[in-house]
Amino acid sequence: MLRRLILFGFIFLFLLLSGCATVRPWHRESLSDPIMIMDENPIDSGIKQHYLDYREGSVGATGEQSGGCGCG
């Protein structure tokens, strides 16, 4: 089952990379805004997830910080 998931992941990745329009570095202003960053404060998110994990039976796949500003 997990192998199928990994396969699906690669297929998805390939389709995204080959099919989606590339946002050029000079068009990234909107994406650099903190409200566009998925986990702008990972420690804060981790604290909240700590409480939820304490009361629920599921873990995992809760996300990590991603970039998008095209800087560097």
């Binding site: 989606c20 909107s30 409200i35 404060n41 409480y51 599921s58 990590e64 970039g67």
Partner: protein
């Protein structure tokens, strides 16, 4: 006939192969990533619920650059758990017939045990023991973040200790950008070596946890990002909390048993999130996660977060999260007779929950001239308040309640060095 533990050995992924395959993708030149900012972060968090559990959770983190390509992060946190709740006195649970977790010898230690939080007092006997259960967990994390030719590599070591549990964890992450930073792939691996030594038992047992995560982030347009996350966790060892007991009625008495969980647990989750820019001032984040494990728990998590800039200094966020899960295959609200696997953990019951969040971020600026504590470009304040409600199919074995209501908050400050 009880269902066998659905470990699915044939289906256990050779995750090492998966990681290596993923790592091969990283052998390409591309533009460098960035180190995290040098900063000091302090948070003060609290949790309070109607199951009479209170948690205070201060934590501190410091990140410094050792060089242009290396940063080091240190973190310290304290989990202070207290519960002004009914004491159960001494735990006299018997072990059940389970082979997986060995014997469950109980000891009359004279210590008071608060089984709601699984917190036990640090010492003292009888009435002189603390009126409030006192469980303190100290956690230390040290991490290094290094920019390598083609991406970013982090390695963290964690040590956590309370008087009946210890944990040593190593976590490694590698990430890199592709296609002019439109795509980011991150692979992470976590390995924990835990030890459980309950105060009411004479034994020490191990818990081993291994987790592999893969995250794919993709910029779809100037206003839309998406992220896919795949997670796989394998846990084995003493997975039941023996401070909880199962009561089985027999003629003329009630016998208490220690819970026995399967020795292994295989946990998987997939999630997708989108962030969409509604207008120059606001965005919305929507997410969905599907989880399943070898104990037959399936869950769905839906989340949404709306964020809006109130000014150039303040940002408001409003979020909602709903969660649904079914029960583990060995969960019973009442056990008529001892079974191979038994649990008193309401986390394994059929349940649904809702979480509402309100958060505010204040960014300091030398220009704002309104609030003195904001008069610094390097400062950021974060406030969040959450209201959480969970409903379980069966009453909680200790409180007798089906509905748990909780409030938790976080107040944080970040200072760029």
């Amino acid at each position: 006939m009880l269902p066998a533990n659905k470990a699915g050995d044939a289906d256990v992924v050779d995750w090492k192969t998966a990681v290596c395959v993923g790592l091969i993708s990283f052998i390409l030149p591309l533009s460098a990533q960035q180190l995290p900012d040098e900063e000091l972060q302090a948070n003060f968090s609290g949790y309070f619920d109607n199951f009479q559990v209170s948690v205070i959770y201060p934590n501190f983190a410091l990140t410094r650059h050792l060089s242009e390509s290396t940063a080091i992060t240190g973190r310290y946190l304290v989990d202070l758990v207290s519960a002004a709740s009914i004491r159960t006195g001494n735990s006299n649970g018997r072990s059940s017939e389970g082979e997986d977790e060995g014997e469950g010898e109980s000891v009359n230690t004279g210590q008071n045990v608060d089984v709601v939080t699984a917190a036990s007092t640090g010492g003292g006997r009888g009435e002189e023991a603390f009126k409030l259960a006192d469980d303190v967990r100290n956690e230390f994390v040290l991490g290094i973040n290094h920019l390598i030719a083609n991406g970013n590599f982090t390695l963290n070591g964690l040590y956590s200790r309370e008087h009946d549990y210890s944990s040593r964890t190593i976590a490694g992450t590698i990430s890199r950008d592709f296609a002019e930073k439109n795509t980011t792939i991150q692979l992470s691996f976590v390995r924990s070596w835990d030890k459980v030594f309950p105060t009411t038992k004479t034994w020490t047992r191990k818990v081993n946890v291994e987790t592999v995560d893969a995250t794919f982030s993709q910029i779809l347009s100037t206003r839309l990002l998406t992220q896919f996350i795949f997670s796989y966790t394998k846990a084995d060892g003493q997975l039941a909390d023996v401070y909880r007991t199962i009561k089985i009625a027999v003629p003329d008495s009630i016998i208490q048993y220690d819970p026995v969980h399967p020795y292994n647990r295989y946990r998987r989750a997939v999630a997708n999130r989108f962030v969409y820019r509604l207008n120059p001032l606001s965005s919305i984040t929507l997410g969905y996660r599907y989880y399943w494990d070898s104990w037959d728990i399936r869950s769905h998590t839906f989340s949404g977060l709306y964020q809006r800039h109130l000014s150039q200094y303040a940002t408001l966020g409003v979020g909602i999260r709903t969660y649904f899960q079914n029960e583990a295959f060995f969960f019973r609200s009442v056990y008529a007779a001892p079974e191979r696997y038994m649990t008193a953990d309401s986390k394994l019951d059929k349940a649904y929950s809702t979480d509402l969040e309100l958060k505010l971020t204040l960014n300091g600026s030398g220009e704002q001239g309104i609030l003195p504590f904001l008069d610094n470009d390097r400062l950021q304040y974060n406030f969040s308040l959450n209201w959480y409600r969970r409903h379980t199919n069966s009453p909680d074995w200790f409180t007798g309640l089906r509905n748990l209501s909780a409030i938790y908050f976080n107040v944080g400050i970040r200072y760029k060095l």
